[in-house]
């Protein structure tokens, strides 16, 4: 089992890796669109920590944090984004469909809601093969607006498949906030209507996430049932655009594309509250220790990715 420092190092590894990617993105290195997961690190690290041999995660288009958490190899991921033969998928997948089967990511989908049914099929394959594993599906608040989200939950529950559906709720679909595009969706009520257990995670406490996800994984397997976890988070790096049309600044949630205001820093904190998983670490671990670990991780990553 990973210790607290190991988990903290993982969070910092994800943060620094994404910030290094962002630096290259800002200078226009990539021809493909990337979706940064700054602020999504805690859940990705927790998922990685609880996955057992044979478990698999099916990702969405915003999969960078999970691919890094599972593979722990920034260079291979960068090479993939550069579409090099040395890349994680030999430069054949790019970012939105990036999979890493060797590390339990057999599929990622660029289409909202598409991956849940594929996850259902994988969970059914585990059942048919007599394997006690969990399939984890990473989704988002945009995908729960798709009919396929409901259909897939229905199938998962009808077949009582061991599947954990994670809904990363960052409030945005492209540049549109939930309040601008739709009525509220009570996910607890929807899942409850299907007899699926629901939980909400918030606060970016990676240690609490690991503990509860581990319990939910066991629950999935013992009771042969799907569960749904809504993870409240903030995609960090949004900024205010100021131009002739917006002299007072317009808030921009950048969806894909670089985060122009995010700068490299040995201590990569972006917000001084629990919306930032790096800040959330300081509740559990002495800041000086974290800063020391952070410098060490950054130095190693800079050397590896040079």
């Amino acid at each position: 089992m990973a210790g607290k420092t190991d988990l903290a190092r993982q969070v910092l590894f994800l943060r620094h890796s994404q910030m290094l990617i962002n630096e290259r993105y800002k200078r226009g290195d990539f021809k493909i669109p990337l979706h940064l997961g700054l602020g999504h690190e805690a859940i990705a690290v927790a998922v990685d920590a609880v996955m057992q041999g044979g478990d698999q995660i099916i990702c969405s288009h915003r999969n960078m944090h999970y691919v890094l958490a599972r593979g722990k190899n920034l260079k291979a991921e960068l090479d993939e984004y550069y579409l090099k033969r040395e890349g994680l998928a030999k430069g054949e997948l790019g970012s939105m469909n990036l999979a890493d089967e060797a590390h339990g990511i057999p599929y990622s989908s660029s289409i909202l809601g598409n991956n849940i049914s594929v996850g259902a099929g994988l969970a059914l394959a585990k059942r048919v093969a007599g394997k006690n594993n969990v399939i984890i599906v990473q989704s988002g608040d945009g995908a729960i607006e798709e009919g396929s989200f409901y259909e897939s939950l229905l199938f998962l529950k009808s077949q009582n498949l061991c599947c954990m559906v994670l809904v990363e709720n960052n409030g945005y679909s492209l540049g549109t906030h939930i309040t601008e595009r739709r009525c509220d969706i009570n996910l607890r009520s929807i899942t409850s209507g299907l007899g699926i257990h629901y939980e909400r995670f918030s606060g970016n406490d990676v240690f609490a996430y690991v503990q509860r996800l581990r319990e939910l994984r066991d629950y999935c397997i013992k009771t042969r049932t799907p569960v749904c976890v809504e993870v409240m988070l903030t995609t960090l790096g949004s900024w205010y655009l100021t131009n002739d049309q917006n002299p007072h600044g317009k808030f921009v949630n950048y969806h894909s594309g670089p985060a122009p205001t995010v700068q490299m820093n040995e201590w990569p904190i972006l917000l001084m509250n629990d919306d930032d998983p790096v800040f959330a670490l300081t509740t559990h671990i002495n800041k000086d220790t974290l800063v020391r670990e952070s410098k060490d991780i950054l130095a190693r990553l800079q050397e590896e990715s040079a």
Binding site: N97, P106, Y107, S117, V118, A120, G121, L124, A129, S148
Partner: protein, 309 residues
């Protein structure tokens, strides 16, 4: 034996041989079992038969997920137009998985609405339309010979494909033609070899071509009868060689699509040989094609024969 009983028998024999297969779809093990297509299916203990919810998009994704997980599956579908709800997976998910040379099999087996009594849904009767979205291998089944070869070779072989059956033919007596040639990819079948015309049938129009061949025989004429059972790129060579010999080409296509693969054959034939006479029999879409009707191709066989001669 009628058409659907024979197809059902072939499917039953194939699936019961499998150590591990998942059969799924709406009503496949209940009620009429899709009008007989899935009647009396039996599988070995490690396999499953699932009467699924009405969730076509998800069911397509489930099939691809099973495939990624190394488990063979068949999704039986009551009507081809239901597959429109799963198009995302046919393009995006399939394009992901096909890169990896999958070891497991996933087949979607829809009933093509080629009788007009379903009304508005009947306008989508061309299997090739959906196959062309992502160059999906697709096969239509029209008689004893193509049913045997396609279902035995393709139903559970590694990879993904769509095998469509004709609702119009369900209760019809099974046609049992002879076989002169079948291409290794089961795309082109030749049933007779003749000297007076080359007849090529597309989509589900084989019975019309078979009848034309028979009528020609009554007049002492012989024809080469082909059926093109797939919409993905076809090797026309054998058909072109036959047209070079007969000099007369009859094309029959019952599709209502604007996107007919028979046009590709006609271009190839015009480019490569002297076509002295040709007749195109396609759907007349100038009338009311939206209201429920019998929806058969109106073919005046004697006029075609007169035109050829």
């Amino acid at each position: 034996m009628n058409y659907i009983s024979f197809v059902n028998e072939l499917v039953r024999k194939k699936v019961v041989e499998q150590e591990r297969v998942v059969l799924f779809g709406q009503n496949i093990d209940a009620g009429s079992c899709l009008s007989g297509l899935t009647r009396n299916l039996h599988v070995k203990p490690a396999s499953m038969i699932i009467n699924s919810p009405n969730s076509e998009n998800t069911l397509c994704g489930v099939g691809f997920g099973l495939m990624m997980g190394g488990v063979n599956s068949i999704f039986f579908m009551k009507q081809l137009d239901f597959l429109l709800l799963g198009i995302d997976h046919l393009v995006n998910t399939y394009n992901f998985i096909r890169r990896k040379d999958p070891k497991a099999s996933f087949t979607i087996m829809p009933c093509i609405v080629d009788g007009g009594y379903q009304g508005l849904q009947s306008s989508f009767n061309n299997l090739g339309d959906i196959c062309s979205l992502a160059r999906i291998r697709g096969f239509t089944v029209t008689n004893k010979v193509d049913a045997e070869r396609i279902i035995n070779a393709e139903l559970l072989s590694p990879g993904f494909r769509i095998i469509g059956v004709s609702i119009r033919l369900f209760k019809e007596e099974l046609i049992e033609p002879g076989l002169v040639f079948a291409s290794p990819d089961n795309a082109v079948f030749q049933y007779t070899q003749g000297n007076d015309a080359t007849i090529v049938c597309f989509n589900l129009s084989f019975p019309y071509g078979h009848e034309l061949c028979r009528k020609m025989g009554e007049k002492g004429l012989t024809a080469s009868l082909f059926s093109v059972n797939t919409a993905t790129p076809t090797n026309w060579e054998r058909i072109i060689e036959d047209v070079k010999r007969t000099g007369r080409l009859v094309i029959i296509d019952d599709s209502k699509s604007e996107n007919l693969s028979c046009h590709a054959l006609l271009c190839e034939a015009q480019k490569n040989c002297q076509v002295r006479k040709h007749v195109m029999v396609t759907k007349d879409m100038s009338g009311d094609w939206l209201s429920p009707s019998h929806d058969q191709l109106e073919i005046r066989y004697d006029e075609i024969i007169d035109k050829l001669l």
